[in-house]
Amino acid sequence: MTPILESKAVSKHYGVYKALQDVSLQFFENEIVAIVGPNGAGKTTFVNVLTGLLKPTHGEVTFHGKSIAGVGPVKLAKLGMARAFQLVQIFPQLSVQETIIAAVISQRNLQYNFWSSVDSQAELTERALEVAAIFNLDKKMTRQASYLSQGEKKLLDIASAFALSPEVILLDEPTSGISTSEKRGIMDTLMTAAKLAGIKTMLLVEHDMELVAEYSTRIVALAEGKLLADLPPNEFFNDPELQANIIGKRVNHA
């Protein structure tokens, strides 16, 4: 089976500081991979390298076998990889519909159309409604993004990434800043959305180990820039020493 996304002996150095050292990983279809590790483990650097934002000092990152080192976010979206950030990123003055349509326009290569009104193009508005419905935002299509609740903003941020119809989506702490009671709801929505949108691989950077245990199919652990473990959840949570390294304390998980 050929991997969709692969990092081959990737290292990233900032002067003498080695943020990533020799990380080799393959990501396949139908995987939900959680990337875990303590603060400063190199998770964000790894994600930035994987998404072509940073060029690795050594090694290579390939998407469908082609190198994507440092391609930048625009090309990445075109290739079929989307990303949502830990801090909510929205367009404050745009409505829910406009935000999602902005992504659909890129995906369908309509950005140079300067004459037809966005609202009159049914293919755009219908697709926006379809995506919004997955994230329960379909009743708020005309609501300006800045007037949404924090949870809704987060969902809109992710929904616009989904609207690119990517093969791989990378979500950086999708439940950060969300109340504990809302976390499961958001994760369930994400899982349903991934199925409906035909997303092949999902990468999650997540601190909440309960969510990791519940939703991921594979766990990649980083510590001090090195790959510490790459295991299925049951094996990961049966290794107390590994968990102690990752979370700094021993936890018992079912």
């Binding site: 930048g72 976010p73 625009v74 990445l76 979206a77 075109k78 989307a82 990303r83 949502a84 990123q89 929205i90 367009f91 404050p92 003055q93 745009l94 406009e98 935000t99 349509i101 902005a102 992504a103 326009i105 890129s106 995906q107 309509l110 950005q111 140079y112 159309n113 300067f114 004459w115 037809s116 009104s117 966005v118 609202d119 193009q121 755009l124 300006q144 007037y147 941020d157 616009s160 990434a161 609207a163 690119l164």
Partner: protein
């Protein structure tokens, strides 16, 4: 656009077209620059209100348009206004590309300062390259033909408040319609996404630099066309047109009318010129009064004149949310 809104626009246009029968020739001569500035500001607001880039050197393109008309009519001998407008647009198009390529890599104050620097550079070129630009005495503009009709024998006031006035309104309507289509198109939506959050826009596949450049060039072309209209009534293209205070006026007018609204800049152009005329006729300290107006505007009415009409709608929306 609702029917009510369309009717308001038709009414305003009808009112504007009937002004030669209502207003004295003096006030009519004030309306001519207001129409020209409407075009300039429509372009300026694509860059400022829709793309989020505040230029402090936009007068450069207005002057480029004006000087193109002056050179074409008095030195090259091209009298057709249509060709002059095309020439002004083309010159601005060509010059704004290399300048834009550099400027759009920067945002906020850095973009503002760079555009200001280019504007000042152009102002000094106009002064120093005497053979080409006529230095501080500028270049005379010969009265152009409108649609191939030679109107040189007509009395100047009658020409300006008659054929030329309607010609300007026609051009303003066409260019406003084109701009309306642009800002409501997929391209327009991508520009607004860049204004709101360029980082997020990039991750949604928006080519941020390229689209900023497109907005920059379109706004320069509108500036050039407006400059071409602005210079005909004056009959002279002089370096004052490119001075940085003119760029400041463009920013003032846009904020005055309301940059969050498509029609704000048009309202701003008419209101600013009317207000300035009234203040100048009352006091020699008119700059002081205009400065005070700007301060009051920013503090109490950041949405400009159009913000007054929006307040009700926004209040209703916040109520709906709470």
């Amino acid at each position: 656009m609702t029917l009510k809104f369309k009717l308001i626009i038709v009414f305003c246009l009808a009112l504007l077209c009937s002004t030669p029968w209502i207003l004295s020739p003096y006030y009519m001569t004030l309306l001519l620059p207001a129409v020209a500035y409407s075009i300039i500001l429509l372009g300026f607001n694509l860059l400022f209100g829709y793309t989020g880039l505040l230029s402090f050197g936009h007068a450069m393109y207005v002057a480029l348009g004006a000087y193109t008309v002056a050179i074409l009519t008095s030195r090259v001998g091209i009298k057709s206004m249509e060709l002059n407008i095309l020439g002004a647009a083309l010159v601005c198009f060509l010059i704004s590309i290399p300048i834009g390529l550099l400027c759009v890599r920067y945002v906020r104050i850095f973009f503002g300062m760079l555009t200001l620097a280019f504007g000042m550079l152009f102002h000094s070129i106009l002064f120093k390259f005497y053979d080409l630009t006529g230095g501080d005495s500028g270049i005379k503009v010969i009265r152009p033909n409108l649609f191939g009709v030679d109107l040189s024998q007509m009395d100047k006031t009658n020409f300006l408040i008659g054929p030329f006035f309607y010609y300007s309104i026609g051009l303003m309507v066409i260019l406003a319609f084109v701009m309306w289509r642009i800002v409501h198109s997929p391209l327009g939506l991508h520009l607004q996404s860049i204004r709101d959050n360029p980082r997020k826009a990039e991750y949604l596949g928006v080519k941020v630099h390229r689209f900023r450049l497109i907005a920059f060039v379109i706004s320069a072309v509108y500036g050039g066309i407006g400059g071409a209209l602005l210079v005909v009534p004056v009959g002279l293209a002089d370096p004052e047109l490119a001075y940085w205070t003119q760029s400041g006026n463009i920013v003032f007018m846009t904020i005055f009318g309301g940059f969050n609204n498509f029609f704000g800049p048009i309202i701003g152009a008419f209101a600013f010129i009317g207000l300035k005329d009234q203040i100048v006729s009352q006091t020699q300290y008119w700059r002081l009064v205009l400065g005070l107006v700007l301060i009051l505007l920013v503090v109490f009415l950041p949405g400009g004149i159009m913000g007054l009409f929006k307040t009700k709608k926004t209040a209703a929306r916040s109520q709906e949310i709470s």
